[in-house]
């Protein structure tokens, strides 16, 4: 494993990479924050969550590429990647269909970023992981079934 960057003492690492920890960075950023769509995040049914983001009529598309494991060994950590090949991609949502609240994440893409995100999520049980993409004002989706092997006997 490569601990080079991560394991050097913090101060030296900061100097080495010219990194600056700026808690203050947050303050100007929160001003631009999109409003949180609480009804979508609180929704308990997939259909309600989709309706709340305006994607009730989303169409399945092979231009949305979702990578999720066939089997996630541990439901607490499921690595997901979503890439959109649709021009004008504005937002990406990640849903775990059988979670108590299916909407896990919303990513609003701003100019200068590739239409790609990777994130690790918790899944309550085996389910479809669904990626919804908004591109040029229209909604598209792709999904992938992931089996999770819950905290088993061998534990």
């Amino acid at each position: 494993m490569d601990f080079d960057v991560a394991s050097r003492p913090l101060r030296r690492r900061l100097l080495a990479t010219c990194a600056v920890a700026l808690a203050a960075l947050w303050l100007p950023l929160r001003a631009i924050a999109a409003d949180r769509n609480t009804s979508a995040f609180d929704a308990k049914a997939m259909s309600d969550a989709l309706r709340s983001i305006g994607a009730a009529d989303a169409i399945e598309s092979d231009q949305v590429v979702i990578k999720a494991p066939d089997i996630a060994e541990n439901s607490a950590i499921v690595h997901i990647e979503v890439e959109s090949k649709l021009p004008g991609t504005q937002s990406i949502w990640v849903f775990a269909e059988k979670n108590p609240q299916p909407l896990v994440a919303q990513f609003d893409l701003l100019p200068g970023i590739d239409p790609f995100v990777a994130v690790r999520i918790k899944m309550a049980e085996s389910a479809f992981v669904r990626a919804v993409v908004k591109a040029d004002g229209k909604f598209w989706f792709a999904q992938k079934e992931t089996k999770v092997t819950l905290g088993g006997c061998a534990g």
Partner: protein, 104 residues
Amino acid sequence: MADTIKMRITLEGDTAFVKVLMPHPMETGLRTDPKTNELVPKHFIQHVVATHNGRPVLDAQWSQAVSKNPFLEFRVRGAKPGDKIGVAWEDNRGENNALEVAIK
């Protein structure tokens, strides 16, 4: 928060591949503390912003179902050595943290 954000950036052409870890317990509110037998209150990062030279490129809203010590990867176009990539988060208790790193 004892741990700082960790960021790794690799530049391929003019695309910066950015991987981030944000140490955070990400409590769902459904977990029982084995010691006290009580539910641990919900505590999770709910808002993340990424910047390129100070300009926001990604604005994310999360639920408590993002894994503990969240991982995020994104790709910034038009990047070059010396450019700065920043990540900042805020959780549901109003705690926040941020890190800005120059591309090598």
